[in-house]
Each structure stands twice: as structure tokens, then as C-alpha cells.
């Protein structure tokens, strides 16, 4: 049966359903990860401890660093390293080593966090570069409780202090949900040891945006390297394999009849550029844009990525150098 999808909303729901089904194939792996992490979680800190007290609330900004293609194209890390920015850095795990190499270090930016949301062992590669060892003790890690233990071990070896949180995915299913049962197990030894539960939006970039305002209470969040799409001049191999060829993907036949439908080109009017969306990025993009619209009024989201698919309601787009000029004080 072929069901045409008449609207973006229905399309997004369909993609979300498919993604949910696909993700649940790894459910046993998540539970295993959690079970192995539990003794550490009992003793480590909750990400909730990173939330400032009410007295400390104020206007704070954060920069979320992702690994989308425009971050290198516009040398955003170099710009940031050379700036006087004094806000918070929330770096996605996949860009941590590059950020440090570019001089975006906790010595320059003391409020420095790295985020890990994906529960797979391949994430370990993000923590393997030796430069992380030079700065790890000054970086606070914000990890999901279902992070693969090998990833946790590696990050810990480099001195990263881990703060845990729940990735919400089935809490709506009630008492017997994994989200609820895992919370009960975490509180078994200390009932006050409670972790925040976050909406991941399906990827570490969106999760980092959530962490920035929901946990760190930053009122302005700038995005760099959060394209949720490809640049027109990205290599085809990167696009087709969603930049994961060596590990996970069979890729898509460029001659297949569905190819052009799957890899859509959209126009970003804010930055006057085109962007290529594969279905995964469509899934990510629609979710993040929805949540930006639904975020509290006190949250301002600035897309300084200078490309990609994040634009529209409540997204303020500006070049990263202009953001730095405005928010460096």
C-alpha cells in the first residue's frame, strides 16, 4: 500500500512513527547500557545540579556547537576562539575535539559543557582524541543514562565529570515505562537523587538546545553547526550516507526513482542559500522548529549557523560574527 502524505504535519508524524519503530530495535541495548551505568549514576551528579539557583537567574547566553557543514565553511570555531565571548558553551560530542583544536577550550570559556545523547558504542570515537585529555577535567559532561558504558569510560578517563539525565521516550506510558522504572532505580538508594528528563528531538544538537535553556537556564541560545541539512556543495557520498558510510549505512541509489524525492532542496530565505534535506534531517528539522516555536517566551533562539534548514517563527537568524559582536561584553 502506498499512502501519499498530504501535509508536513502528517509527514512528520509518519517519520516520527517510523523512527520510533526503528529505534526500538535497539531497546535491549539501551537497557543494558543503563544497567551497567547504574552504579555510576548512583554516585555521580545529576544534570539538575547544573541548573543555577533562582538567585543566579539572569540573562545568560549559550552557544550550541554542532558539526553541521557550515561551521567549517565559515570558520565559526576560529571566530569564537578569537572572540571575547563570556557565555556558556554547549558542545555536541561529535565536535568536541575540533572545537578544542580550534582554541575553543574551557580555559577561554569556563562554562563549558559537552553533551552525549546517542546510546551507541560508535560515539566513543568522539572521545578518543588526545586533546580532550588536556581539557577534560574542566569540561562538564551531560550524558543520557543510556549512554554506552564504553563511551562513559572513555570520557571519564579524560577527566570529564559526568552529569546524568533521562532521555524521554516512553514516560507517557506510565508507571511501567522505562523512563519511570529507571528513575525509580536511580532513586532506590537516595530518593533525592533525581535527574532531569529532556526531549532530545531525535539528535544531540536539538538535545543541546533543550539542555541550554531547560537545564542551564540560558535565555539566549545561538546555534552554530546546527544545519539539520546539507550544503549544496557537500560531497554526494557524505549526503547519501548521512556522513556515516563506514559504520552504518547502505546509502541510496542515485538512480532510484525516489532519489529526488528523498533528497529535497529547500531555500533558506534568512541566509539566501539552498539546503539539502535527507529524510533524517527533515525529521530533525521539523522537530526543532516546532519546539523553538513552543519554547517559553523568555527563550530567544538565534540561528548563527549561516545555512541549513532552521528558519521561521521565533528563529532569529544572524551571521555568527554579528552575534559575537552583539553578545560579547
Amino acid at each position: 500500500m502506498s499512502n501519499n502524505l498530504p501535509s508536513t504535519k502528517e509527514l512528520q508524524k509518519s517519520i516520527e512513527d517510523i523512527m520510533k519503530k526503528k529505534q526500538y530495535e535497539n531497546f535491549n541495548e539501551w537497557i543494558t547500557n543503563f544497567a551497567l551505568n547504574l552504579p555510576s549514576i548512583w554516585n555521580d551528579r545529576s544534570a539538575k545540579e547544573l541548573t543555577p539557583t533562582t538567585e543566579q537567574y539572569g540573562k545568560h547566553s549559550a552557544i550550541v556547537i554542532g558539526r553541521g557543514p557550515s561551521i567549517n565553511k565559515y570558520e565559526h570555531l576560529k571566530l569564537l576562539a578569537a572572540s571575547d565571548y563570556n557565555g556558556t558553551i554547549v558542545c555536541c560530542d561529535g565536535k568536541l575535539a575540533d572545537a578544542l583544536k580550534a582554541g575553543v577550550t574551557p580555559d577561554r570559556f569556563p562554562r563549558y559543557f559537552v553533551t552525549t545523547i546517542d546510546p551507541y558504542p560508535t560515539i566513543k570515537k568522539h572521545y578518543e582524541h588526545e586533546i580532550i585529555g588536556s581539557y577534560g577535567s574542566k569540561i562538564k559532561g551531560i550524558f543520557t543514562i543510556i549512554t554506552n558504558p564504553l563511551v562513559v569510560e572513555r570520557a571519564r578517563q579524560f577527566g570529564i565529570q559526568i552529569h546524568w539525565l533521562h532521555s524521554l521516550f516512553d514516560y507517557n506510558e506510565g508507571m511501567k515505562s522505562f523512563n519511570n522504572l529507571s528513575a525509580l532505580m536511580i532513586r532506590a538508594k537516595n530518593n533525592t537523587h533525581r535527574l532531569p528528563g529532556i526531549q532530545t528531538g531525535g539528535n544531540v544538537g536539538t538535545a543541546s538546545w533543550f539542555i541550554s535553556w531547560q537545564i542551564l537556564k540560558c535565555t539566549t541560545i545561538a546555534l552554530i553547526g546546527i544545519n539539520h541539512g546539507w550544503e549544496e556543495d557537500d560531497p554526494w557520498e557524505t549526503i547519501i550516507y548521512h556522513n556515516n558510510k563506514e559504520e552504518i549505512s547502505e546509502g541510496i541509489d542515485r538512480n532510484s526513482p525516489t532519489f529526488n524525492k528523498l533528497f529535497r532542496k529547500i531555500y533558506n530565505p534568512d541566509f539566501n542559500c539552498n539546503c539539502i534535506l535527507d529524510p533524517l534531517f527533515q525529521f530533525y528539522s521539523e522537530a526543532l522548529k516546532e519546539f523553538i516555536v513552543r519554547s517559553p517566551e523568555w527563550v530567544t533562539t538565534i540561528n548563527a549557523t549561516e545555512g541549513g534548514s532552521i528558519f521561521g517563527d521565533r528563529v532569529n537568524s544572524m551571521k555568527f560574527k554579528d552575534f559575537l559582536k552583539k553578545y560579547c561584553s
Binding site: N172, G197, Q199, T200, A207, Y241, Y267, P279, R294
Partner: protein
């Protein structure tokens, strides 16, 4: 600059149409096939709840 797509002369007026016309032709099966082939690892799911506020996260569990 090398590009993967032909550039339209009047980009701002054509892309929106292109997006919508193609989107109508997409099917769940095509998406599912893509997800199966791409692996979709490195991704997670979006949390949905009948309590819409919960979808934005919980302070503590």
C-alpha cells in the same frame, strides 16, 4: 563552485514550489526504506505525550 544540484535562476520563487510538489509524492514506504538503509543510528526518537508540556522536558524524574 561545484554543486550537487542545478541552480535555479530565480531561486527564491522556485524552491518553495519544488519542495511542496515533491513532498506530495512521498510515501511512508519510501521513508521507511530510506531509514532502513541509512541505519538511522546516531539518531533517537522524538518524545510525544498527551501532556504537551511534558514534551518540552521535565525538571526531574
Amino acid at each position: 563552485m561545484k554543486t550537487n544540484f542545478r541552480k535555479d535562476k530565480d531561486e527564491s520563487s522556485t524552491h518553495e514550489n519544488e519542495t511542496h510538489s515533491e513532498q506530495k509524492d512521498l510515501t511512508q514506504e519510501e521513508f521507511e526504506e530510506y531509514i532502513a538503509k541509512s541505519g538511522a543510528k546516531g539518531s533517537f526518537m522524538v518524545y510525544r505525550s498527551s501532556k504537551k508540556d511534558e514534551e518540552l522536558g521535565l525538571d526531574e524524574l
